[in-house]
Amino acid sequence: MNCEVCQLKELELEHFEIREVLRCLLHTIVFHRALGLVRPKDVDLELFDVTYVQCGEAELEKKIDEKIEQFVCWVEKHPNKKSQICLSFYELKNKQASWFSNKIERLYWEQWYINLNVAQHPKVHSSKYHHSKVGDPGEGTLEDRNARSAALEASLREVLFQIIKFVNEKKDHVPPIPNLEGAVSFPYEITIPSSSDSAFGMDMIKRMLQTGHPTMLS
């Protein structure tokens, strides 16, 4: 079974927009892949004129929110970096017992990459960005902010269209729906960048070489 990969269009956003955008994208993808019985739940974004759909499962919502919080923490520690969140769906296969392991293997059949570019200005504490839509001196005028926000909304819509298009066009690789209770029919995994990420590690080495002293690892 092949693994379909979908790289979503990169979104440029600010720190205070991360949670809403990520919630929107992650829930939308899961909604299209949680093929058990759902009662769809419409959610309106506060920052943008966009409505997305959730599965309406509390546990799912909680897991997604936890991951988003982890990601936000990571972003605060690594400002001004392009980041990627990977949402993967897999099947569990019992690997034949070999001499070194008998573990259950994960066969990924679909991977979604959410590409974000979080613009974060230095010397400004992240909490200030919460709900603040007033222009900061370091941010430019209010018009710039509005224009940027409108551009992000358009990009977000594009990404949502992209998701739907991908879901539409590629259906053959989706495994049969198991008879499980609940909406989420396939196991999934949300991966956020971490200190063990190889790309991050390279960045750290580069920085160490440039600055001459190690920065704190998270």
Partner: protein
Amino acid sequence: MDLHNNVQPELGKLEQIVYQFLLKCLHIILDSRVPLLRPHDRSGDMSTGPRVRRSDKWFNLALGDRPSALDNLHFWHRNLMDPMIIDIILVHEVDGSSVETVIERWLVQYDCPRVVAPQTGDITSSYKKTYQKSIVLFRALYSQMRLLPAYKIFRQLSTASHTCNFDIIYKVSSFSDPFSRAEGGMMEEYNFTPVEALPGRLCISVTYRSTLSDFNLECSTSLPTKIITDYVGSPNTDPLRSFPASYKGIRATSFPLRGIAPPTSVPLERPHSWTCGFHKAAPFVQNHPYVGSPPVYRGSPKPYDFPTPPTDSYGVRLQNLRMQNRHKSTSYDEHQLSPPFSPSPSPSPPTYFSGGNPMQTRLRSETAPVTIPHSVMSKSSRNLSPNFSDPSRNSLPPLSPRRTDGSFQESPSGIRSFRKLEASRTGQKFVRDSKDDSGRFSGLLSSSGSPRIGFSRTSSRLSFQDELDDGDFSCAFDVDDVDPPEVQSSQNAVGRSAAEITSTSLPMGKKSQDAAVGVLVHMLRTAPPLRQDPSCYSSHSPKADAEPEGGIATASGFFMPRKTADALEELRGYREMRDLLLSKSGNRILNKHEA
């Protein structure tokens, strides 16, 4: 096209899938585009909602109750091979006339070739795949419905339908006229990937207007959310006046009073407030809030939605409310048409109502029941003799305090009974309070009608006795139980004023209700001096500020000693005078006798 040859046993299954597919499509599209068909909110929580119906479980997408229009699908869509065309039509105004424009056209079809190749392979597994892919397709469809431009106006219409200048309707058919070139130029197309349903495939596509900004679509939301919070009185003073919160954004803003509000907080610029008439001692206005709708207040929260903008826009709002509630029960309309603040028979100052006169006349014409109280009031005023006899008047409850609240629950007779109570309450309020407080003054009016008041009025020398009697009345303002008369006695200023008030308010049958209300206003206005009474007694003047609080709270227990002491002093004074006079006259007598 002949399906029967090789798929005969599975024909039913395929038909069933195709039929349910069409049904689900229609359900999703109409649910997301036509507000009136939506039976419930999209809360989405599987755990708390009711159990999903079996028919709703198709394609693992539970949408809730189906609109009834869908139940007749099999009637007009006999042939499942025919396309199902759903037109979402925007009804809007252009130059005063109503225009219908197709903003979305959905085409759902089971596309089957004319010549069917012989089926090979496992048909059942093919249907399973079809079913699974349909599930995914419907997820995509559901999401897409929320991304297309028409969703925004659908939401506007759903939330504020009565203030929108447009509407959305739909049309389902098996054929449709193609779009004109001009129309087609403004439309975009989106095709969902067809789902294999051997021997054919299930297709969904949409042609939609890429932008709706060309239409002058507006939903004004300012009016419905207007909340007037400064109406007379405070909710805290009357436990009955608890209004339910926003019904579709419209808060109850009128009917501030259920009893008699203190006059201090009357906003004079509110022409629809009954308090305008209140100042002029017009009990009709005071009672109007209850005329058309005593049951309303105890019933559902809907009838509270009476707006009170003191502008001419009220008519629009009323109309809007009517439109909004066209689906609601008739009882609501009925209440709506009988607003509480039509002051028709009251001698209220015209200035207060100048802003709303057109509304007044309209309301007056619509509120026929409102005029009834006038006659009832006049009749009931006659009834309000101390005996409260004349039960034949109507089914009025006896004028005992414990019935006053209960009478609210009554039906049409309750309207009049309540009004009579209201009329009586104006003069009897303090009486009722005192009864509640002390348990003594049931029918105080009758009992204290003549002897005491007359006594207090006539005798100035026997002021101590006056004070005793006045003290009885002063207990109306006290919270504690009334003490025996010899102890409670004098609360001079208040007692006297209370006595005056009671004396004037007693003959309810004789004086007008207006006077009674005015008297009560006066009484309430003089209530504050209760707190200042301690300051009248110089011996306690340093504590004058602090004491009133405690004085009022502990009522007679606090005031009594001083009053008694004063009275005793006065008594002593008079005794001395009497002794003096007697001694003088006695001297004379003695002198006479001696002489």
